[in-house]
């Protein structure tokens, strides 16, 4: 662990707040080096990540199956706090992981599903096909990736699903301005 010499915390007190400044406890992990000795840790990490990539398809299939299992539980038991949470968590993980694993369109479809779960006023009122189509699309994108012509189709499929989901959410939240604002707000993450 980075160790630093003991130094007092300086507290400046104002009318409604304190500003607490302590000497940088991590300053001793910064080292000045000559430019010729500077390696590229990012390139090293990207290379290491590429070394893992052989496992990505299998990992993605595991994540997609987890999503299908969560959906099966909902078809069996209906939306409960537990089944809703597991469906959201599975979709949310795919939203975050899929692009790293090489399946950006699956991530986009999962994001659309997350938005439905998060912003639909009543999940029991969501057309069951809308949720099922998202899950089937994600499975298809993951299973059919080896075919050369699927990337464009996968992108188009995700885009269409997102459009339908957004139209549904905009209509369902027309009297709920807080949700409507969240549905219409742009993501801070760069687009695919």
């Amino acid at each position: 662990m980075a160790k630093s010499k003991s130094a007092p915390v300086q507290i400046s007190t104002f009318a409604d707040h304190h500003v607490i400044t302590q000497p940088n406890p991590l300053r001793n992990v910064l080292r000045r080096v000559a430019e010729r000795d500077l390696d590229d840790p990012v390139a090293r990490a990207e290379k290491a990540l590429a070394g893992l990539s052989g496992e990505f398809k299998n990992w993605m299939a595991i994540e997609a199956d987890r999503l299908s299992d969560a959906h099966a539980a909902i078809l069996r038991d209906g939306f409960t706090e537990v089944t809703r949470e597991e469906l959201f968590r599975a979709a949310h993980d795919i939203k975050g992981d899929a692009a790293t694993f090489g399946f950006p369109s699956a991530g986009a479809a999962a994001e659309s599903l997350c938005r439905i779960i998060e912003h639909a006023p009543d999940l029991d009122e969501v057309p069951s096909n809308l949720i099922a189509h998202h899950i089937n699309a994600i499975q298809a994108i993951v299973r059919e990736r080896t075919k050369l012509d699927t990337a464009a189709t996968a992108g188009e499929l995700s885009k269409q699903l997102r459009g339908i989901a957004d139209a549904f959410l905009a209509h369902a939240n027309r009297d709920r301005p807080e949700h409507l604002e969240a549905v219409l707000a742009p993501s801070i993450a760069p687009a695919e």
Binding site: F14, A15, P25, V29, V33, H92
Partner: protein
């Protein structure tokens, strides 16, 4: 030019997804880190935080038991025996502006939206190591300064109220935390 000695840093990674933990571990090790502790939920992470006293915490948001937001809130307790100042990097699939604001208000130091990239992670770590922000304590907030840009001319409703400045010298809370280990 500056380089981070990652082998002097201790990381705590908290994510319920084993694949994401594996990716994070791979990235941190390839940066040069040797000490990377992992937890799959917020409660275990809090225990590990007290036990291992990491220099930097990297946490997901959505997790079972209690989530990354609650973990940040529990770390940012100014009166706690542990170190309330450790940098917290929130790595999450949530990418809405509202979420960033909520994370910021929980005391998160840096926010990194998934999908993860080596460059994005390195830049966040470099920022917390090289450019730590002072901490602000108000009645409702304790955490890194939420304002990255200072402007003395700001007169909006959220301006801080100034007044006579009183400078107090106190023993380092970090030292206090270390002495209890």
């Amino acid at each position: 030019m500056f380089r981070i000695d990652f082998n002097k840093l201790r990381f705590l990674v908290c994510d319920d997804n084993p694949h994401m933990r594996r990716i994070l571990r791979t990235l941190l090790h390839s940066f040069g880190a040797r000490e990377v502790y992992e937890s799959e939920d917020g409660a275990t992470a809090l225990e590990m935080y007290s036990h291992y006293v990491p220099d930097i915490v990297i946490t997901d948001w959505s997790m079972p038991i209690f989530d990354g937001l609650e973990l940040a809130q529990m770390i940012r307790q100014p009166e706690s025996k542990g170190n309330p100042y450790a940098p917290i990097i929130m790595l999450t699939g949530h990418s809405e502006k509202r979420r960033v604001t909520v994370a910021r208000d929980a005391g998160v130091t840096e926010f990194l939206a998934k999908p993860i990239s080596a460059k994005g992670l390195y830049q966040r770590i470099l920022n917390v190591v090289a450019n730590p922000r002072p901490f602000i304590k108000t009645k409702t907030y304790f955490g890194p300064d939420r304002r990255r840009n200072t402007t003395n001319t700001y007169i909006g409703p959220e301006r801080r109220i100034g007044g006579e400045v009183e400078v107090l010298q106190q023993p380092s809370l970090l030292d206090k935390a270390r002495s209890t280990i």
